[in-house]
Symmetry: C2
Subunit: 346 residues, 2 copies
């Protein structure tokens, strides 16, 4: 093996020169380098797009699904679906810590990895159970965390399901917390979803008494939750119709353009709805994975909008701590999340 | 016609509810609304991707190319290539100014529009000449500029070709000027191109004596230009190989990570090369239209990089003035641009 790299490229088998995420095959041997952490894996949380693809291919036959998962990990050294390219997260206990590391966890601690399974070396000995309804696979397995790999210690004061639901989208609320300033007017598009609710909460906390948080949502059933103190005003509509969004949201902001918009919608063609309602010099924070780079760039130019558009980074410092803290602070959000994301095995 | 909208949606014929850029057909009648400017068009500068597609389809037959352009504009009310979706720019003189506007130009001024032809109402009376080598079409035509449409007065002290070459990429150097602070270390990826040279110049101007500007380029022929005072160090390599880029560029920055990277490469798969060399808390400015939103977002997360990634906006306040000023200030750049972008009719 080559000299250990902090990004884990020393484990790339082929093609050489790429990052672990882009690799076809990585080395999953459990002998750790001085800058790695070995994890005894308890469960894999397979990415929803990936699990759906595998279930369809296996025609929902549990034995075939298990065989497919074992085959992928055996071939690639990681649980990266070759069709969707996506991975997921894992839960496990810290088994061994490389001598050059000084991490915030100890051997025996239960953690969730916050880097994708699509780049995490994994060796499965046995699949113990399949929980089809929540995309979870209980295993006997070992995984490797690279020096730059991010993770969170699982908290003792909430269920694994609740913690994972929040950690899965930890980047968005943490970025919201850093971005929003007192007095800001903030538009959150896709406010009814998991990310949206967390972003609304953080925005409300930061804008203070002189700010205004407008929650734009699609599904009427989300209104009740949003009006439990998670926004100043809730506006219902279709995020793919920019002029309607512009008119209805400015109406909820005294006719003024917003300082910041945050897009957490998971459908395409909502770029202009995030750009038009923002003032020149304002910030458009694009967290939706359905965002088109060119539609955003050319769209802002076409409308002559001098806005700073930021690509939602899944990682920002302390994002897991910031997000878990929200579920401790807010009984309202915790109740919503516990109701929505409690374990429902198939 | 509906009440005039500043984004020009009152001219959208179909489908209703979309912005002019997304529309299949817009109203190109030369009767202006109170918030519009009428332009007597001199030339269209067709977007390179669009012109190449049309030339191929017409098998380089000039008459067929002319017919195709007339057909597109007749059908759509704008010169938006239905295959590539792209447009271009135009040059013309201001013919009439809507009564509710107070623009910085007067009737008779020669201007270049800086919004895409893909959203600009256009009616062609005659195609006078085709300049195949520089994607330029001389016409007798009229066009409409919307209230939010951006434009620049063509300067008297440089040729149209020179001004257009610079205006075409005006967003990048203007954003560089606003982003870079004294003492910053700046990595420019794709430094040998038009945008790259302008960004290098602006970065050099801003970082001052304690900063460091590293120009990463691919083509050996660009080295000579870059070393004419446009960077502190020039590094040659392949921008699609992130680990090579990381190693060679950090080597040119005393082994330290950069404060800012600016990506103006026009090939795919250079996201990680822009992200890895930047320090936590630093800025990654993505100006390349070949950028993948998800590769940037998931890539930064996968490497645990807490960087702010900004989508290159083609427009920022005063971008045309900032960019034209560069060609006046720098004899070095002006010579390079005049040599490279002088008119070479086919």
């Amino acid at each position: 093996m080559e000299k250990p790299c902090k990004f884990g490229t020393h484990r790339v088998i082929e093609p050489k020169g790429v990052m672990p995420q882009g690799a076809k095959k990585i080395d999953n041997s459990p002998e750790i380098q001085s800058n790695e952490i070995l994890i005894d894996v308890i469960s894999l949380n397979i990415d929803s797009a990936s699990f759906t693809q595998i279930k369809n291919e296996a025609q929902n036959d549990e034995e075939k699904i298990k065989a497919k998962i074992l085959q992928i990990v055996d071939e690639r050294g990681k649980m990266q679906n070759p069709v969707t390219g996506s991975g997921g997260m894992l839960i496990g206990t810290v088994a061994k810590i490389g001598k050059d590391l000084n991490p915030s966890v100890q051997v025996g601690d239960k953690i969730a990895t916050l880097v994708s399974l699509s780049l995490t070396p994994l060796k499965i000995r046995e699949i113990k159970a399949l929980h089809m309804g929540i995309d979870r696979v209980d295993v006997t397995a070992q995984a490797i965390l690279f020096e730059t790999g991010i993770y969170a210690k699982l908290p003792a004061d909430m269920t694994e399901e609740l913690a994972l639901a929040a950690l899965d989208v930890a980047g968005a609320p943490a970025q919201t917390a850093k971005l929003v300033k007192p007095g800001d007017s903030v538009l959150i598009i896709g406010a009814g979803g998991k990310s949206g609710l967390l972003c609304c909460y953080e925005a409300m906390k930061r804008v203070g008494p002189t700010g205004n948080v407008v929650a734009f949502y699609q599904d009427e059933r989300d209104k009740e939750n949003l009006l439990k103190g998670l926004c100043h005003k809730a506006v219902q509509g279709d995020a793919t119709k920019p002029l309607d969004v512009l008119q209805s949201t400015l109406g909820a902001n005294n006719g003024k353009e917003f300082d910041i918009s945050i897009n957490v919608v998971n459908v395409p063609n909502t770029e202009m709805s995030s750009i038009l309602p923002v003032r020149n010099g304002g910030v458009v924070y694009l967290f939706s994975m359905a965002t088109s780079f060119t539609k955003a760039a050319l769209g802002a130019e076409g409308a002559g909008k001098d806005v700073t558009m930021i690509v939602g980074n899944g990682y920002t410092k302390d994002h897991a701590e910031i997000t878990l803290a929200v579920l401790r602070e807010s009984k309202v959000l915790r109740d919503i999340f516990e109701k929505r994301y409690s374990s429902k095995p198939a």
